[in-house]
């Protein structure tokens, strides 16, 4: 659906996007992840033809973003970062205007707008002035605007920006649903969002792609070890036995004060040592009140990837 080759965007004295190449296949939900200022929004703006690339090319649905810009824009539903809306229009009015603008005829426009409003739960506020809407509703109107002409590709720039936790959850659910019918490219710096919705993540920093892989694989590639938390009642000498379990690299005990001890076991990230710990506990007759694995999260992988100052060659793998 999207193919970008050596896309570059330079501003005076600064390279915002530096020769990035990536692909998004049809039906995928891909997350563009990076710190603020990484070049995510700039890349999206180049893809949606709002900006022109300094170098490099990209095609969307087979159409070149420079040569066939009109065709590209017909196939993309774009939701910009600040969700710009006209404050002096009503919700339904605005969506009908946008639907017409995107080429829908009069009759199909009404049906399409009704459907988009239904998908984004906007039917109740159809007659409300956009200036009076709360942030959550504004985002939904922006999303409905992106959906209204039923594009093949949705490009969403920070879609949960400024939403409260309940709205974020709804939004995530909606995106997953939409992912069944559309190809989606989301740009965000919220890791949990990406972990829960995206099949693949492209990590971008300072204009360069650092990694492109599924969240699971990125975590597995982590060089940092995982850890297991154990809260048990055992004689003081028994701690040494924990160190002997295969896969445990380090044992870090803390007295909890009420007779229980917390152990933080540093383990090999690929191995789950909990079963072995449990068996050891049974054999030694220890009491356990917590045994959990603090597996590395995407946040750990992200921070780890980004702390290399040197731009690494992007390790691409399609899942």
């Amino acid at each position: 659906m999207i193919e970008a080759r050596h896309l570059t965007k330079r501003y005076a004295g600064r390279t915002a996007v530096d020769r990035i190449s990536f692909e998004v296949g049809k039906g995928e939900i891909v997350g563009f992840l990076g710190p603020n200022g990484a070049g995510k929004s700039t890349t999206l703006r180049v893809l949606t033809c709002f900006l022109s690339a300094t170098e490099g090319t990209a095609t969307v649905a087979g159409y070149d973003i420079y040569e066939d810009s009109l065709e590209v824009r017909r196939r993309i539903g774009y939701m910009p970062e600040n969700v710009p809306l006209y404050p002096d229009m009503r919700v339904g009015e605005y969506l009908r205007f946008r639907a017409h603008l995107k080429g829908l005829g009069y009759r199909e426009c009404r049906a399409a707008v009704a459907e988009a409003m239904d998908t984004c739960s906007l039917t109740a506020v159809e007659r409300k002035m956009i200036a009076t809407l709360s942030k959550g509703y504004r985002q939904r109107v922006g999303l409905a605007d992106a959906l209204v002409h039923k594009p093949d590709l949705l490009i969403l720039d920070e879609p949960t920006n400024g939403l409260d936790p309940g709205q974020i959850r709804q939004s995530r659910h909606l995106i997953r649903e939409l992912g069944e019918r559309h190809t989606i490219l989301i740009s965000t710096h919220i890791l949990s969002e990406v972990e829960m919705t995206c099949g693949r993540v492209i990590i971008i920093d300072r204009g360069r792609i650092k990694a492109s892989d599924s969240p699971r694989n990125l975590i597995c590639r982590l060089r940092r070890p995982g850890s297991v938390l154990l809260e048990a009642k055992m004689p003081a000498t028994a701690a040494a036995k924990l160190a002997s379990i295969v896969g445990v690299k380090d044992v870090n005990p803390t007295e909890d004060g009420d007779g229980w001890t917390s152990f933080v076991l540093t383990t090999d990230p690929q191995m789950d040592v909990r079963e072995a710990v449990h068996e050891l506990a049974i054999a030694e007759n220890w009491k356990i009140r917590e045994l959990s694995s603090r597996t590395a999260s995407l946040e750990d992988a992200f921070v780890d990837l980004l702390k290399d100052g040197a731009p690494s060659d992007p390790v691409e793998s399609k899942t």
Partner: protein
């Protein structure tokens, strides 16, 4: 529906939904109404070699009110879109930049014409009230209408360009005002410090708005002002298009 008509209607709608359009219309009509009455009274007291139509549209009061219109009409055209960020939504929709420019320009010109109409309603009203059918000639009225339409279209194009150059509507208004005024006063150069009949004086008279109106308000349809205003409007509109497109490339 074609993008041009959609955008055009939307702009029109947003002009007429704001109270500003009506306030301007009321003030402009009031100013010119008072001026019209004064002109008639003045001409009653002292016969004038020129027609009522000419006297009305040559008076300084008229031009003062007239030239202020354009910054007010055009300042929000593009500057507002850039300020609110909606220009991003507009230019990422499948519409050509040329369609956007023409639609916004067209809507501003349409609003301008609506603002102008009450003033031209004075003439038939005058005839109705006084029964003086021969007080002025029809040709003069039509000529003035054509002249003001062209001049207005030109000034609106100045305003459109100014609006596209900045993200701040106030600066756009100031730019428009300065350039509109500059152009108007350029037309007076032929009278000040220039030897009448010299090359410079002749040259300036081609550019002079006052001169153009003098001719057209007599009912003489001269192709020179028509070509002048149409070609400049086209030039400024294409510059506007370039300014918008160049933002994609610029830092």
């Amino acid at each position: 529906m074609r993008p041009f008509s959609i955008l055009f209607l939307k702009e029109l709608r947003s002009f007429f939904l704001s109270p500003m359009a009506y306030v301007i219309m009321a003030l402009f009509t009031f100013l010119n109404g008072w001026l019209f009455v004064s002109m008639v009274r003045a001409m009653q007291l002292q016969a004038s070699p020129r027609s009522l139509v000419h006297n009305l549209f040559a008076s300084g009061w008229f031009w003062m009110g007239f030239l202020i219109l354009f910054p007010l009409l055009t300042m929000r055209l593009f500057a507002d879109e850039r300020k609110m960020g909606t220009i991003e939504g507009l230019l990422t929709a499948p519409v050509r930049t040329a369609e956007v420019v023409l639609a916004k320009y067209g809507a501003a010109v349409a609003v301008y014409l609506v603002l102008l109409l009450p003033v031209f309603a004075f003439f038939p009203l005058f005839r109705l009230v006084t029964g003086e059918a021969m007080a002025f000639q029809n040709g003069a009225v039509w000529g003035s209408l054509l002249g003001l339409f062209l001049i207005g279209a030109f000034h609106v194009s100045i305003g459109t360009l100014a609006s596209a150059l900045t993200a701040n509507p106030l600066i756009a208004a100031m730019l428009t005002f300065v350039f509109v005024m500059l152009h108007y006063f350029l037309g007076f150069l032929q009278n000040f410090g220039m030897v009448t009949g010299s090359v410079w004086s002749e040259g300036m008279s081609y550019v002079s708005t006052t001169e153009h109106m003098n001719v057209l308000a007599e009912g003489l349809i001269d192709s020179r002002p028509i070509v002048y205003y149409v070609s400049f409007s086209v030039l400024l509109l294409s510059l506007t298009h370039h300014v918008l497109e160049s933002r994609k490339w610029r830092a």
